[in-house]
Symmetry: C2
Subunit: 215 residues, 2 copies
């Protein structure tokens, strides 16, 4: 529904409400993050508040200075640095990730701002159990700088998408999407901030939907 306030207007689909997570063993999430990890924290909060039947068992990050480590420390969740610069190939990085995830008993992989391309190594270790969030209404604006792309294209509606990960970047079956308006005076920063508010709502919902689909 369209709202009278631009700032709060959004549309989310599916219209799924996190309230009573299904019973059973909590999913064991392994997070992959390259940056601040705000989506990681949003997922952690959804778990804490009992909305998502899951547990974040480990965070793997690839940039030594990533702020996600501070969040992980605050939340008491183990964080492991796997610096991609120290691996010979994408495959070698993905094998190392898989070893860490196996060590922690991860059964779902959540890319929360993971800026590395995945290979068959990771995909085959977690078939149809890797989720990614992307700051556009896919298939519009795949790849890097999606919000910049949206501003440059002059679209009036932007958004974010959570999808299963496949080899092609930002493709794979869609789980959930959220749309927000682009305002006349938007910059990349203001639009990004508006999209992120929805990312933090969408990602826990999308994980819940994926868990339900797999159960």
């Amino acid at each position: 529904m369209s709202s009278s306030s631009h700032e709060s207007a959004f549309l989310m689909s599916p219209d799924f409400t996190l309230s009573q997570p299904p019973l059973g063993k909590p999913a064991r999430l392994g997070i992959l993050a390259s940056g601040s990890g705000s989506n990681f924290e949003a997922i952690a909060h959804a778990i804490e508040s009992g909305e998502l039947n899951a547990q974040i068992v480990v965070v793997v990050y690839n940039n030594p200075g990533a702020k996600v480590t501070l969040r992980a420390e605050r939340l008491g969740i183990p964080a492991r640095l796997l610096d991609h610069r120290t691996f010979d190939s994408r495959e070698a990085l993905d094998e190392a990730i898989t070893r860490v995830f196996d060590e922690y008993g991860v059964n779902w992989v959540v890319m929360a701002g993971w800026m590395r391309r995945v290979t068959e190594k990771l995909l085959s270790a977690f078939p149809q159990r890797i989720l990614n969030i992307h700051p556009s209404l896919l298939p519009s604006f795949p790849g890097i700088r999606a919000v910049e792309q949206a501003i440059a294209a002059g679209v009036k509606i932007a958004g974010c998408s959570v999808h299963y990960v496949e080899l092609v970047v930002d493709s794979g079956p869609m789980i959930a999407q959220a749309a927000v308006p682009v305002l006349a005076n938007d910059t990349v920063a203001t639009l990004q901030a508006r999209i992120q508010v929805q990312e933090h709502r969408l990602f826990p919902l999308a994980i819940a939907i994926a868990l339900e689909q797999a159960s």
Copy 2:
């Protein structure tokens, strides 16, 4: 804003309200239509109800059996058949359209389901005064069968876009967009119907925005 009812949920941007149309001479709209003309009728109703400071002076259609003629007759608006099959080239058709529009003093061209590609002939006769509606959230799913494309891609949010027309099909600066959810049991027909409800709201708004931008 997200709504609790799937059927009525939508997001429109810009959040523009038709209420007091600007004073001054009404815009003289020439409509191009190939099919049923439901968008044409929605625009006519917005004008009738005083929401849009414009007048539809003529409808040009290209398919002898198009239902748009019935609507035009009911609304008392002249309708002219220009069957593309009777012209040697796209340019010749566009020249004939321009002649009809000149005859009626058209100053804005509105493509309301016009399934022919435009040429420089029409573009140069009405520079930045040709508007088109497309049943997708462009730049996703340009071209024909946009709703089928959206269903096939598995997106969770679909919509429609009104834009200024340029030579490349379904490109050109965006004026307004509306988003709707795709539901789990949607067919092309049910999704198309949901999008059309928004098209009928969006198009008059987008015309008003374009008139305002040009004034």
